[in-house]
Symmetry: C3
Subunit: 157 residues, 3 copies
């Protein structure tokens, strides 16, 4: 069972989790300034107060309140990160507390983080499908594998 | 106060939290392949590279780059999961560390997870309102109740 | 290194983290009823079953299935919360386990939570830019600072 969890939290597995979780969350956060960059270069904003900084002419301001395919692409990529990285972090934390051996744990973390970096590249380039789809599936597979261990180690319903 | 938390983490309450958190996160993750299923059956995609896999004819490809009410419904359901399940997981973890008695803890977890499964059914069927609204409120109520215990057990401002 | 984490979890730093994380998550959850409030006063809904509660006349129902600038503004604010508060909570938890001194920890938590409350006010009023942009940057800066400490305390790749 999940006993001795309080020792687990001092383990190398937990350190590895903290490292990879932080890296992949930083990667996700990077999508926000990237959206800002595309909004500025494509001149495509969502709020009237954002365009007021950039022009005083009413007509120019209205034109900048629009959606742009590149901005929307970065936003979909950001959303996909939220939908996938949040489950990884939650289930990964619980998984790290089940006391897996260091080798499998680090393998899980590395494959997930690698798959999400590749997913971002595949989404933003964009690479032809199914490269983005496959990288998404790899990430999902890692999280499912960790969830399986959490549930089989200490199911308490 | 929140002392002896490191013992709490070995408790049955924590095991129960790990079980229910994993189940409800898996439920949330399931919304992604469901979106994919609706995108494929409704032929409604967001990215040009996604339709290229499905047709070589330029006209057919353009027609598939569209929004579809069923796809948007699943996406709203997924978004509502993110907005509600993430707070549950964060506050539930802190709540589990305050050392609640096992009976109330498991009751909180079960009601929340049940409310979110019902919410998904109510959203996707769709059931007439206010069924979806009520299930959403039940979930919010559980999270508020746990937040109240976290803040009243160990407020440190 | 990150040793003796299991003691850290009983510390005042952890209590402070639990308090501020709960408060800022509650703030984020508040965006949902606020969206509901704007949907009802602006009569702008996303689902056919939601308008059926409010009118029986087919024409009136159709008119209420629309987007409204105020509703969309609250939703963007909610989305920005998700994108920023989730990273804060994850990295803040790991940061609290690195054993920072109480003064810097509480400073980080307070500045972040303050910046997010200000961000919401700046978004919803709306205040002229760059007030919203600056409050967003302050929050990002706090999370980066905590991430830096997590990675420099116990990097395990």
């Amino acid at each position: 069972k999940m006993a001795e969890i309080s020792q687990m939290i001092d383990s190398e597995v937990f350190l590895a989790f903290a490292t990879y979780a932080t890296i992949v969350i930083l990667k996700m956060m990077f999508m926000a300034p990237l959206t800002g960059y595309f909004r500025m270069t494509r001149k495509a904003f969502a709020n009237p107060e954002d365009v007021s900084l950039r022009s005083k002419i009413e007509d120019e301001k209205k034109k900048m309140l629009r959606t742009d395919p590149d901005v929307e692409r970065v936003r979909r990529c950001h959303q996909n990160d939220l939908e996938n990285i949040v489950p990884f972090v939650v289930i990964g934390l619980l998984y790290a507390l089940t006391g897996p051996d260091l080798y499998s744990a680090v393998l899980h973390f590395r494959v997930f983080v690698g798959s999400r970096f590749f997913h971002t590249i595949a989404y933003l380039t964009p690479l032809p499908q199914p490269s983005r789809g496959l990288s998404w599936m790899v990430g999902m597979g890692v999280t499912f594998s960790m969830a399986y261990r959490v549930l089989s180690t200490g199911l308490y319903l």
